[in-house]
Amino acid sequence: MTSRGLVLPALAAYIVLLLWPLAGVFWTSITPDGFVGLSAYTRFLSDGWFLSVLRRTVVLSLITTALTLVLSFPIALYLSQTWRRGRTLVTFAIIAPMLVSAVARSYGWIIILGPAGILSRCLAALGLGSGHLLYTETGIVIASVHLLLPLMVLPIAGSLQQIDPSLIRAAQILGAGVTRILFRVTLPMCIPGMTAGAVIVFCMCASSFVTPALIGGPTIPMMSFVIYQQAIQLIDWPFASAAAFILLAATASVTLAYLFWAGTRRAGARP
């Protein structure tokens, strides 16, 4: 078939602009002193400060993923029920922010979370102290949840729509209550969507640059900030490359574990 040859231009572009540059960065990371060695990696992994940045990135991404998962499920349930009247409006409210620049959205959170922001003034008016959440880890999590929520809602809603309505009806006829149906039928059936969403949200959160840079500032750095700082401000290419590959390894291992899991699941589902 000649039409298979149509993938060649894209394949060539991906090799030249993705694989080859990534290979170059990997080579830079393992030749810090002009010869092959792992000193850039050992320097990162033996330095308490860099390790704390890595730990913060993983922990905040895990918290963001968990919060997004819990917050998304009811919204996804609502969107999957096509008979609902306000559905178009809710779809718009959830999807539209996803396509708005992360800089603009983070700026909105700066105004809300800042010292003179709405939230701090509300808290002060309620007598709950005079603190603010800008430049805190809580602030980063709040803005990240807002940024990534659509990426979790969509796969879960897709998964929920795959559920055969007769399954739910069967469970009802057999006498299962609403809670029982939720935990024994609906939730297990949308595990694929939840897992896909969780993987995307974790990877996007761990590698996001704009939100931590604006909400956290330089005092609460995440991995992306370290990579940028080492590359552009300190021009330490081997170290920046090593940090980039440590971040890539963290997100890729999660993704590959997911792909493997999804593959075995699909193979298992086949009769």
Partner: protein
């Protein structure tokens, strides 16, 4: 049945509250940009367009805006010209290799884009290639192409293969069949791919941050730099422009392709 009523009422309230929260930071930015005051104040306490005037007359914003538009246009052309053939080729092929290739073409979405930016910058440096609209656009093409591939594949999945076969049997050549039959049938996917490429380009910071320089600075990178240093409503005016552009494109996308379809939420469930 009052238990079900309460649950239904709770779900509606929750979804409505989340929809408002999703739009809140964006609304805050839009309202802040209209303030007549010289500092960020929310609520704005008056309406004026003075900050938009300030943006239009400042030296840094207009060239950035034009750069963003040019880069976005190049990204559309590049992403479509490699993404559409790739999707056609993938659609024609079957088997393990085709599945692997599809995963590969979608993989840039799973790689931290900051790492892609770093890698392409190093690649350009090795070729001594200076920053230009084209060099930034080629980098962003790598994160826009996956969307084109995905949307065109989704469009092709809905094409009845009997139609193209009928055209071939009736004596139409492969190119004529593509232009007259396939192309009109997958136009939703094409339009969505083009608009998404533009949105990805105009929102991108992570790649442009590395590939831009003082002469070639897209709007979002310029805005990020500005927000990290100054806190006057001029930033809000620029952020609002990005919001307005995104909303216009989402509206066009919805009119032409249907936003539910794009994100895999069906309008009607199959019975």
């Amino acid at each position: 049945m009052s238990g079900a009523r309460i649950r239904e009422w709770l779900l509606r309230c929750y979804v409505a509250a989340m929809a408002v929260l999703m739009l809140l930071p964006i609304a805050v930015v839009l309202l802040t940009s209209l303030t007549p005051a010289a500092y960020i104040s929310f609520p704005p306490g008056g309406l004026s367009l003075r900050w938009y005037m300030a943006v239009a007359s400042a030296d840094e914003w207009v060239p950035s805006f034009l750069t963003s538009l040019q880069v976005g246009a190049i990204v559309i052309v590049c992403a479509l010209s490699i993404g559409v053939p790739a999707a056609l080729g993938l659609h024609a092929a079957t088997g393990r290799f085709a599945t692997a290739l599809q995963t590969f073409f979608l993989s840039p979405l799973m790689i931290p884009s900051l790492v892609i930016g770093l890698a392409i910058l190093r690649f350009y440096e090795s070729l001594a290639l200076p920053a230009s609209d084209l060099s930034v656009a080629l980098g962003q093409t790598m994160i826009a192409t996956p969307y084109v591939v995905r949307f065109v594949l989704a469009g092709l999945a809905g094409v009845d293969s009997g139609l193209t076969r009928a055209a071939r049997i009736l004596g139409s050549g492969p190119i004529r069949t593509f232009v007259k039959i396939t192309l009109p049938l997958i136009r939703h996917g094409l339009i969505a791919g083009a608009l998404f490429s533009f949105i990805v380009s105009i929102d991108d910071v992570n790649i442009a941050l590395f590939l831009s320089d003082v002469h070639v600075t897209p709007l979002s990178v310029q805005l990020l730099g500005y927000l990290q240093q100054s806190a006057d409503p001029q930033g809000a005016a620029v952020a609002s422009l990005l919001v307005i552009i995104a909303f216009v494109l989402i509206f066009v996308c919805d009119r032409l392709a249907g936003i539910d379809w794009l994100f895999g939420i069906r309008k009607t469930t199959v019975s």
